[in-house]
Symmetry: C2
Subunit: 209 residues, 2 copies
DNA sequence: GTAAAATGTAAGTAAGTGCTAACATTTAGA
DNA sequence: TCTAAATGTTAGCACTTACTTACATTTTAC
């Protein structure tokens, strides 16, 4: 049952680190949450810092969107971007605890946390950029920088995610997920696709590639 | 010289809170940085929490982009958005310390910090949204939700700002500010303006309204 | 069943925390 | 110049922190 204990501690650690930050989460509380003596925690991890490292490392091997690319072949540009947006938001939700830590401790743990962040973002950006590149070569998209385009696209949803998740800014208009996704995708599609009719009144889903 | 002391403490507090977080910043260190005895700190602020509140409150009366609107009249859509983007990035840079606190303590101080965040974002979004609305009424923009459009636009730059400022992700391509602004604006303009020629090869600055 | 590994209990260390008390010193305004 | 307000100094309190020591108990593996 060695592994179980270690895992329980890692789980409790991740949960508390993300709720209270690295400094705010105490080893005593982590141990209690894990249902374990505080000493046991130190028998598994030589220090609080090591526990922190392992806790975030464990969640950092992020399945990216790479596997998604083939599935996009049969879809229109709008549908593909919509799909990507939803998947991306899903991923972010799954990793919300990690992301919370990154936000709160980013300037205390520059090296490690930043490195992970970059790897995560970099992979997703790369995937999306290569998708754009493919369509550009087929002359289906305008000539914009694929990586910047990817970042612009993902930025919109990342900000949406953080405002929903962390600021719980769930009021008013910014709340309906489907509406937001549709609006952002529409703007981006009109801005990047090669298509001549971009503006019927209320024309919502008319873009093909 | 009463006010000077209090101000020095507030400055030191803001600076250290943003660098080390609320928990990580100690009253002793704040006092030392302010060049003041720790006791003096407590003579001016009944508690660390009160100091924190006053420190962030002091920087929270944010000049918004409201005054910018008239200046935009004479500009093309692209130039106007570019101007807004630069101003917005400037504002964010000015407030970087506050924003850091918001990021790091957002889940520990939900009420107060969140409230400020919402007020700040809300005002800027409102300003930009009303700008969009005006152009839509003149049939110069497509019919998208102005507020969602504003959020989409600002999101791109906010994410860019945070990645530059906090993650110091200053490597590679994502670093040239002018290039990023131009790319994001171009995508957004093509996505929202009513204009028929959206894609000459390398056609960068051809959009008028 | 027994040895060994894993965990628990209890007590404690050294350091740091926010905050206070008592008293001395400086500064400012009349 | 004299007085009162503002600040400094020193010591300390009550508490919490990460982490340790010594020893008892449970669980696991063979």
């Amino acid at each position: 049952m060695t592994k179980d204990t270690k895992e329980k501690i890692l789980d409790a650690g991740l949960s508390l680190f993300s709720r209270k930050g690295y400094i705010g989460a105490t080893t005593k509380e982590i141990a209690r949450k894990a249902g374990v003596a505080e000493l046991t925690l130190f028998r598994h991890f030589s220090s609080k810092e090591r526990l922190f490292e392992e806790a975030i490392k464990r969640r950092s091997f992020l399945p990216t969107l790479k596997g998604l690319l083939p599935e996009l072949r049969g879809l229109t540009y709008t549908d593909a971007l919509t799909e990507i947006a939803y998947r991306y938001l899903e991923r972010l939700s799954e990793r919300r605890e990690l992301i919370k830590i990154m936000h709160s401790e980013i300037h205390l743990y520059p090296a490690k946390v930043r490195e992970m962040q970059q790897k995560f973002v970099g992979e997703i950006v790369g995937t999306l950029a290569s998708y754009f590149k493919g369509l550009q070569e087929k002359k289906m998209l305008t000539e914009f920088d694929p990586e910047l385009g990817a970042r612009a696209f993902l930025s919109m949803f990342y900000s949406y995610f953080t405002s929903q998740e962390f600021m719980s800014e769930k009021k008013q208009r910014f709340s309906d997920k489907d509406e937001v996704v549709a609006a952002f995708v529409k703007i981006f599609v009109s801005g990047t696709a090669i298509t001549r009719q971009a503006n019927e009144t209320g024309g919502s889903e008319r873009h093909e590639h």
